[in-house]
């Protein structure tokens, strides 16, 4: 094989360039701390790394929201604590009025005390965090509770829809407080049956004419044929008033056909009720109509309407009790205070005495609510920790993919340097060897 000077030179340049390129790469890795910084370094690792970064971003997003939520809940807890203190104060004032007040001056003094306590409570319900009023639900940019200047009663302006934060994949937690939930005790009933979303809806209990909870005809089952009870009616209309005060439009109609069971009827109505946020259930022989939202007017069921447009209340054993149904709202915090103020004004000691239990119930209701907040907080803490842990794992994995292993890189660099120096030495030596030296 003929080896010319050019061959030696080309070989030398090739190796030197290769060495230089390798040294350049290693120096870049060391200086930047990254061995994969662009897709061409290693497309698979790069894509994997970017996907990991996306996951980390997602966790960080959840963590940010959790931190905001915890802050909101802390303020809510503090405000409700103030509410409890206020209620205790009110209760002791009412107790004082029942036991010790004998002249109208002291009734007036206590009444004034209650009025100012009421204002303090309204202020507590109007607590704010960085995002807005925390008891306003989604309408958190305006004061959720105001005192009507004419009637003096407290008006809820907020929304019954609480702000819901996505704190994990497909897991949302309601964080801002919907004040109505705190305001009335009835909401507590939903707590046990719907722990996942503990305060976003109301289950009105239907009362019969005598004010008793309707139990219906327990012999009547949901598999009963409707025509046993609906003889003479082809179509049936359900007459209800929605929580926002409106009536459903179009009207809720059920086109009865032979052999339909009560279940068929319920599902026919539910198809129409669903979009309205209302649904019909059948429990213990009673048909219930429930709203998932509470509006100013509350949901009311007026009864069924027959073909002639008459509200149909009799000859209809299973439903008759709901015909004049009304909603049990429980005890309203501000209404109770207003009532106490009226009672103080009229110096009605008996009525005041009866109210002490109401305040006890309200205190226990708000306390339950604070406990709920504590539970949510715990849950958030747990989630936050979970996200933190996954972030650590993801970061470790990411680092394994893209970060420079310094020990390895430095030792590689040293190896390349030695190869580079050797190449230089050997080639300079070879270039000097020529026949010219011997002529």
């Amino acid at each position: 094989m003929r080896i010319t000077q050019q061959t030696i030179f080309d070989g030398f340049m090739k190796h030197i360039n290769e060495n230089r390129a390798e040294m350049h790469d290693l120096q870049q890795d060391i200086a930047s701390g990254k061995k994969i910084s662009k897709a061409s370094d290693d497309p698979l690792k790069f894509k994997r790394a970017r996907l990991l970064q996306e996951q980390i971003r997602e966790k960080e997003g959840y963590q940010d929201r959790i931190n905001t939520a915890r802050n909101t809940l802390d303020i809510a807890e503090q405000s409700l604590q103030e509410v409890i203190n206020g209620l205790i104060e009110i209760k002791s004032n009412v107790t004082r009025a029942v036991n010790g007040a004998h002249d109208s001056a002291s009734f007036t003094a206590i009444k004034q005390e209650l009025e100012s306590l009421k204002e303090e409570l309204v202020a507590s319900f109007n607590a704010k965090d960085v995002n807005g009023y925390i008891f306003g639900g989604v309408e958190n940019d305006a004061q959720p509770y105001t005192i009507d200047s004419n009637s003096g009663s407290v008006v809820s302006n907020g929304s019954n829809n609480s702000l819901s934060l996505e704190v994990d994949n497909n897991l949302s937690i309601d964080v801002t407080q919907d004040g109505n939930f705190v305001r009335t005790t009835k909401y507590d009933d939903d707590l046990a049956s719907n722990p996942s979303s503990y305060r976003s809806y109301l289950t009105p209990t239907l009362l019969d004419d005598q004010g008793n909870i309707a139990t219906g005809n327990t012999a009547f089952t949901s598999l009963e044929a409707v025509d046993n009870y609906l003889e003479g009616f082809d179509n049936l209309e359900l007459d209800i008033t929605l929580p926002d005060g409106s009536s459903p439009n179009p009207a809720l109609m059920y086109n009865y056909s032979n052999n339909d069971t009560v279940n068929d009827m319920i599902s026919a109505f539910n198809t129409q009720l669903d979009p309205l946020g209302v649904n019909m259930t059948f429990e213990n022989g009673t048909v219930f109509v429930k709203s998932q939202n509470m509006g100013t007017n509350q949901l009311s069921v007026n009864g069924f309407v027959d073909n002639g447009g008459n509200v149909f209340t009799t000859n209809f054993p299973a439903f008759s009790q709901q015909a004049s149904g009304e909603v049990d709202q429980g005890i309203d915090l501000f209404d109770s205070i207003d009532e106490a103020i009226v009672n103080l004004e009229s110096q009605d000691v008996d009525a005041l005495s009866a109210q002490i239990d109401q305040f006890d119930e309200l205190i226990s209701h708000v306390t339950t609510h604070i406990t709920e907040i504590g539970l949510t907080n715990n849950r958030l803490n747990f989630l936050e920790e979970k996200h933190e842990n996954s972030k650590i794992l993801l970061n470790a994995e990411l680092s394994g993919w893209v970060d420079t292993d310094y020990a390895e890189t430095v030792s590689k660099l040293q190896r390349t340097e030695i190869a580079f120096q050797s190449a230089m030495t050997i080639h300079t030596k070879m270039f000097n060897e020529s026949l010219i030296n011997y002529l």
């Binding site: 094989m1 003929r2 080896i3 010319t4 000077q5 050019q6 061959t7 080309d10 070989g11 090739k14 930047s32 910084s37 662009k38 897709a39 061409s40 370094d41 290693d42 497309p43 790069f46 894509k47 970017r50 996907l51 970064q53 996306e54 971003r57 997602e58 997003g61 929201r65 905001t68 995002n131 807005g132 639900g137 989604v138 309408e139 958190n140 940019d141 929304s159 019954n160 829809n161 702000l163 819901s164 934060l165 996505e166 964080v175 929605l242 929580p243 926002d244 979009p275 309205l276 946020g277 709203s291 998932q292 939202n293 509006g295 020529s434 026949l435 010219i436 002529l439």
Partner: protein, 455 residues
């Protein structure tokens, strides 16, 4: 006696020619495209009865040591390598604009944009968040635009490069044609064509980096060149390439003269440029368009089913710019009032002020948007595309480079000048000359001896 002097003279002549050749070789040791030359000598003789008497030596040729098969293989590798190198360079430039060290690339922009809608869902009344939605949307649109620009700028540069390269190709073809002419004449006049062949080889070598070329060499040393069976040079006749830019389809076509036969260039720098311009960059561009269109449609579909916070009116979020149908812009009504961002779903009863629509837009992050990819996944896939191509190309470039190096070294083995070899040749010719001179000296002495008898 006379013969002796003639023989000696021929020996000295040859040695001198030999030294000339050697010195020419040494002088051109670093000349690119130079092939070493060797003296071809033949003994002279005459028949004398039953013997052949030697009459000295004669130079019959100064031959070039060259293996055209290696040259042809080098041309082939040149085409492949320069094709790969142009693609590598283009993709490496694209990658640099697709992927930044900060990591604020398309993937993070899209993901941030959607996740801000999640924040909005959690707090639909917040003006801060509404402003952030606009800000993040603008940044995402900017990123889309930058990506568009870097692709279309590459295409613009390529169109210019192709134009100048076609000019260079035509010039080279004409140069080679005139070399063919000279070689023909030199051949007729029995002059050495060595230097011309060196020049010619060098020209073809340059040309082979630009396009796919088939080389056919005639006995006389002329070359005919063709591209996929279409002749571009035959003897001295050149068929110049003509660049037909089809503006309607936005494609580059190379033809033989205007309106002539289309030439399929798929190797060399021109081949790479044309393929990038006509196919690969438009593919990349259409992927990007599909992506931005999908984002726009999906977001708009949801956004138009929602309503603005203050007026309950439905609006689209994104619109397309009138002058550029690929360019997204934000609905002017939303820009002028962030309250018009529709976070609220009006169809949910008793839930005014809700953030359901915003949440649905945020949830787009988990839907399969294009080819089974979720938005961020598609963005990652897209920005990695040039790098992925580059990675594969780099491996090929390395492979082709070492193949080319091997061929070059084989070419050197045949044609390269070895200094040591030439120096030893020098000594050889020097000694041959000295030997011949010595004989001449002896012959002179013989003459003198003879003459002295006559005295």
């Amino acid at each position: 006696m006379k013969t002796l002097l003639e023989i000696t003279k021929s020996g000295m002549d040859v040695a001198q020619r030999g030294l000339e050749t050697t010195s020419n070789n040494i002088a051109n040791v670093n000349t690119e495209g130079y092939s070493r030359q060797r003296l071809v000598t033949n003994p002279l003789f005459s028949r004398n009865g039953q013997f052949f008497d030697g009459l000295g030596v004669r130079v019959t040729d100064v031959e070039q040591l060259r293996d055209f098969r290696i040259n042809n293989a080098i041309y082939q590798k040149n085409q492949e390598l320069s094709y790969l190198k142009i693609k590598s360079n283009t993709y490496s430039q694209l990658e640099a604009s697709f992927i930044t060290n900060s990591g604020n690339d398309l993937d993070s922009r899209v993901s941030t944009f959607l996740s801000t809608f999640g924040d909005l869902a959690a707090n639909p009344a917040s003006l801060d968040i509404r402003n952030k939605v606009i800000n993040d949307a603008e940044q995402m649109i900017d990123t889309f635009n930058n990506l568009h620009n870097s692709i279309s700028n590459q295409r613009k540069t390529i169109a210019e490069d192709v134009e100048s390269l076609v000019g260079i190709v035509n010039k080279q073809l004409n140069d080679i044609a005139s070399l063919n002419e000279q070689i023909k004449q030199f051949h007729v006049n029995k002059r050495s064509t060595n230097g011309l062949i060196d020049k010619q080889t060098l020209k073809i070598n340059e040309l082979s980096k630009l396009l796919n070329l088939d080389v056919y060499r005639t006995e006389e040393g002329q070359v005919d060149l063709s591209i996929k069976g279409i002749s571009v040079l035959s003897g001295t006749k050149v068929h110049e390439l003509y660049l037909a830019n089809d503006t309607s389809s936005d494609q580059i076509n190379v033809r033989l003269t205007q309106g002539g036969q289309g030439v399929d260039l798929d190797e060399g720098e021109l081949g790479a440029y044309i393929q990038l311009f006509n196919n690969e960059l438009p593919d990349l561009e259409s992927d990007l368009n599909d992506f931005s269109t999908q984002i726009m449609q999906q977001v708009n579909n949801l956004h138009t089913s929602g309503v603005g916070r203050n007026d309950g009116v439905s609006r689209s979020f994104f619109e397309l710019e009138d002058t550029n149908p690929n360019k997204l812009i934000i609905n002017q009504e939303i820009l002028s009032d962030v309250g018009n961002i529709a976070a609220e779903d009006p169809n949910v009863v008793n839930a005014s002020g809700n953030g359901f629509i915003a949440q649905q837009i945020a949830d787009l992050k988990d839907i399969e948007l294009l080819n089974g990819y979720k938005p961020t996944e598609f963005a990652i896939q897209f920005i990695s595309e040039p790098g992925t191509k580059l990675h594969a190309l780099q491996n090929n470039v390395e492979l082709r480079t070492s193949e080319l190096d091997l061929l070059k070294s084989q070419d050197q083995q045949v044609s390269g000048v070895n200094m040591d070899e030439e120096l030893s040749k020098m000594i050889q010719y020097q000694q041959a000359y000295q030997g011949a001179a010595k004989i001449m000296q002896s012959a002179q002495l013989m003459y003198q001896s003879l003459m002295s008898i006559l005295d």
